[in-house]
Amino acid sequence: MKFTPRGLKSNLNISPTSAVKDFFELVIKILGFILVIYVLLGFAVDYITPRISTNTERKLGKLFSAKFERKERTHAELQLQQILDELIEKSQGLPPFTYKVYVEEAKDVNALALPGGNIVVLSALLKEVDSKNALAMVLAHELGHFYHRDYLRGLGRSLVFLLISSTLFGSDSSVSRVVTNAVTNAEMRFSQVQEKAADLYALDLLNKTYGGVAGATDFFEKMARKEKLWSVFYIFASHSYPASRIVAIKENIKLKGYVMGQKIPLAVEIKEDFLKNN
């Protein structure tokens, strides 16, 4: 047998498909798959949320409060708690939790309603409020979320989503982080309607507690002025204060014929504590 050298003409071991085409096809398929799960999850969460008992939620709340609980409560926390208690006394229809407010050191101007009656106010927010009424409005707004149980819906979907991505890619991977951020942003945009509903609940409660609605829009107006510069990044903000919310509050004040009343200044020691916190 004679050996005749022959070179390779074609290479059957390599598929003729384009890698870039393959990549985009896969990305679109996977995103589509995620979208379907996301929509289904939305329905599932909507279905489950009203069925979660306060007892279950209280247990869930312990997971969160354990993170913020400290041995000693700061001045600011005690003062905020006092305002919160005043509001709760006048409120109606809130789930029967022991409501507790925590102050967390953070640069974001935000407050969060977490399961089980836990409210977390970020320290940067305290710098932005000028009166007790404005602060009460923020707390009442969070109580509004408890009234509608919005946070369970938002948290439910984010939590399940994060679980999926961390199972697929590992909790530490950059893909998971991207998914988490994307989910949080989408979730916040979803909840703009809920934000407005919480605003209106807060307005009613503020009026009931202080006999007037002075300072109701103070904090939002201040944030709206600040955010003008950053309006491009609006959709990425975890919490936003669009002008439409201020308008809705003002319209509601007119509609219900609320009087403005007096603004109550913040107690001196809270102010000092706020500064210490920052």
């Binding site: 070179g7 071991n13 890698a19 896969l26």
Partner: protein
């Protein structure tokens, strides 16, 4: 958002640099394959023709080729849905051909390489693969 930009940059850089490196490697492989075309490499254990053998010795060549970020992500996505992982085909093809070329280079002056065996293994989590080719270089009595 920052994470997403970071990911896109990594994939983009991986794609462009990876493609360039691959093109260059294939060019070199094809050139050397043409150069060594005269030397037969077969998987047969015995000589194909009656010849008097002067010398026979073990020759081997191995190559380790790494994937790029784009290919890793592409293969990762493929892992989710299943199917052919075409992203790694060129990677293994290059490693296999490079290993055989190195084996041929090692067998300078041989008349034939018998009993060719090719083995592969994964080197690391990041997706490098090693291919080892070994065989018996046979030198005929002239």
């Amino acid at each position: 958002m920052g994470d997403l930009i970071y990911l896109i940059i990594l994939i983009g850089v991986g794609y462009f640099i990876g493609t360039q490196v691959e093109k260059k490697h294939y060019k070199s492989i094809k050139e050397r394959e043409a150069k060594f075309l005269y030397l037969p490499v077969v998987s047969s254990e015995n000589l194909l023709e009656e010849k008097v053998v002067n010398e026979a010795r073990l020759v081997y060549g191995n190559a380790v080729i790494s994937t790029d970020y784009f290919k890793s992500i592409l293969a990762g996505l493929r892992n989710l849905l299943g199917g052919e992982v075409s992203a790694f085909e060129t990677l293994l093809d290059r490693a296999r051909r490079e290993a055989i070329l190195r084996l041929k280079e090692k067998a300078q002056g041989a008349d034939i390489i018998l009993n060719l065996r090719v083995e592969t293994c994964r080197i690391s989590q990041t997706g490098s693969s090693e291919v080892l080719a070994y065989g018996t270089a046979v030198y005929y009595k002239k």
